[in-house]
């Protein structure tokens, strides 16, 4: 009886966690509040994160922040928002840096650092999970 209960509980736990995995909050593109846009076209976002565009459409210098390549949020952002694989992004940065056509993005360790950087850096752009969002940053819609 006791075993049965534990089993049920475990099963429920698994189900609950599976559900929460499926409903895992989406990744959002965020920017410093000085950024005027509320939305960006996908190809413009790709150009900014591939480090090929140095200013935002409003004219201010853009500062790109990213999480490490193997961070799940980075993977989610790359694949689901940008529609490119993390290894393609890494190659694009290496090509920019070693051909003199662009710079590398600023890499931060985790979402806490990401938020701090976006809040404190004018012209900055990055991404976080919806659950980590606060009202000190601007959310950009991707069209």
């Amino acid at each position: 009886m006791r075993r049965g209960l534990t089993g049920c509980l475990l099963l429920m736990l698994v189900l609950v966690s599976l559900c929460s995995l499926a409903d895992e909050p989406a990744t959002l593109v965020i920017a410093n509040r000085t950024v005027h846009q509320s939305a960006l076209p996908l190809e413009t976002l790709r150009a900014i994160f591939a480090m090929r565009q140095r200013t935002l459409p409003d004219g201010q210098a853009v500062h790109v922040y990213v999480l490490p390549d193997d961070n799940p949020v980075h993977e989610d952002f790359s694949k689901k928002i940008l529609g490119v694989y993390p290894h393609q992004l890494r190659l694009a940065w290496d090509r920019a840096v070693f051909s003199g056509t662009g710079q590398a993005p600023n890499e931060v360790d985790d979402e806490t650092e990401m938020l701090e950087a976006i809040v404190s850096t004018p012209g900055s752009i990055g991404y976080i999970q919806q659950s980590s969002l606060n009202d000190q940053v601007r959310v950009l819609d991707i069209e």
């Binding site: 076209p41 590398a104 012209g123």
Partner: protein, 370 residues
């Protein structure tokens, strides 16, 4: 963020061990123990003094067997890049200084190990023995990228002085003629669809140099090297298929003795399949074919005319390689080449009369970049 915060320094270093059964590649590779004479060191710095401006420069020092001046640090690129337009639809800018030639998929970063799919780039197109011809230009380049709903068109065109060094002279002919670079031009159109899932490009260049034989005073004129490359790449999550075709024309004209004038059309093509087993391991297979003269594919007429061996006019290279990303910045790679022909074998390392048609090569390389 102030200007100082935009300052960045990056670099790379690599060391290879090369072992061949016949012929030497980058040092005495056919000797017991192979050759360790392939080392690359690169260091670059960049900053953004104004929001639209990027200033970047890279110094490169390398040893590749008997190639050129070993270790001599060279300015690989040094550019001021001004982006005049950067809005949602396009980015348009100019680069002034020494810019890397946009040629095929790999030329601009041919010396940065982390950007190469294999230790050696396909030699038919990215030949190392006369690499200075296509490396970079001192001049002006204009670029434009036009964005569509799910794709971007890149257009780049430049004019400048090429770096035609002694490597191009010895590779053109064993007689080692003198070449003096003149104003040249280069252009590339590339379309990247769906974030680079499909990439298609056309690159063209016209490299000009004054030609003067060191043996015959009257054998002189204008040497023109005119390559055209068609590039195609498909990127899936775990694999990439890349193929490039090059048609290249070499011409000598305006010689006072018209019999010295002439034109040779060469051809190169490779097909490369790369598979990612995980984020750390990948392997690749490649077939690479080069022919110096399309009208003499097996080199028979070349040999009949007494200029050298027939097999020095083509090269068929089957390559298999494996790549281990030990950490994000540290890589170890290994590859084997099974080669028929010596069309791109460095003359700097070999005596033409002492080469073998069929040869095998093993390369091991460790590289670090930051």
């Amino acid at each position: 963020m102030n200007v100082a915060d935009t300052f960045q320094v990056h670099g790379f270093m690599s060391q290879a061990l090369i072992v061949t059964d016949h012929n030497d590649f980058f040092g005495p590779s056919s000797d017991d123990g192979g050759s360790l004479e392939y080392t690359e060191l690169g260091l670059n710095a960049s900053f953004r003094p104004f929001s639209h401006v990027l200033v970047a420069g890279q110094v490169l020092s390398r040893k590749a067997g008997n190639y050129g001046d070993a270790w001599q640090p060279e300015l690989d690129y040094g550019v001021v890049d001004y982006q005049l337009i950067a809005d949602e639809e396009r980015a348009f800018g100019i680069q002034l200084g020494r810019f890397k030639n946009p040629f095929g998929f790999y030329n601009q970063t041919r010396d940065a190990p982390s950007t190469r799919p294999s230790i050696l780039l396909p030699q038919s197109i990215y030949f190392d023995r006369s690499r200075s011809l296509g490396l970079a230009s001192d001049g002006l380049s204009i670029y434009d990228e036009e964005r569509f709903s799910n794709g971007t068109l890149y257009i780049q065109g430049g004019v400048g002085m090429p770096q035609v060094n002694s490597d191009a002279e010895i590779s053109l002919s064993p007689d080692n003629p003198s070449l003096d670079g003149k104003l040249s031009s280069i252009g590339q159109v590339l379309y990247a669809h769906d974030g680079g899932r499909i990439n298609v490009a056309l690159s063209m260049a016209r490299v000009r140099a004054d030609y003067q034989s060191r043996q015959e005073r009257q054998e002189k004129g204008e040497f023109i090297f005119q390559p055209m490359i068609l590039s195609f790449q498909y990127n899936a999550e775990n694999w990439s298929l890349t193929t490039e075709y090059e048609y290249q024309r070499k011409e000598l004209k305006d010689s006072p003795v018209s019999s010295y004038n002439g034109r040779v059309n060469g051809e190169s093509v490779y097909v490369q399949y790369l598979y990612r087993l995980s984020s750390r391991w990948q392997w690749l297979l490649r077939y690479d074919y080069a022919v110096s003269d399309r009208n003499d594919r097996d080199g028979e007429r070349f040999e009949a005319s007494g200029k050298g061996q027939d097999y020095s006019r083509f090269a068929k290279d089957v390559t298999a390689g494996v790549h281990w990303r030990v950490t994000p910045s540290w890589n170890i790679q290994a590859e084997v080449h099974h080669v028929d022909g010596t069309a791109w074998l460095p003359r700097q390392d070999n005596d033409d009369d002492n080469t073998e048609q069929h040869w095998n090569m093993l390369l091991l390389q460790t590289s670090f970049s930051f």
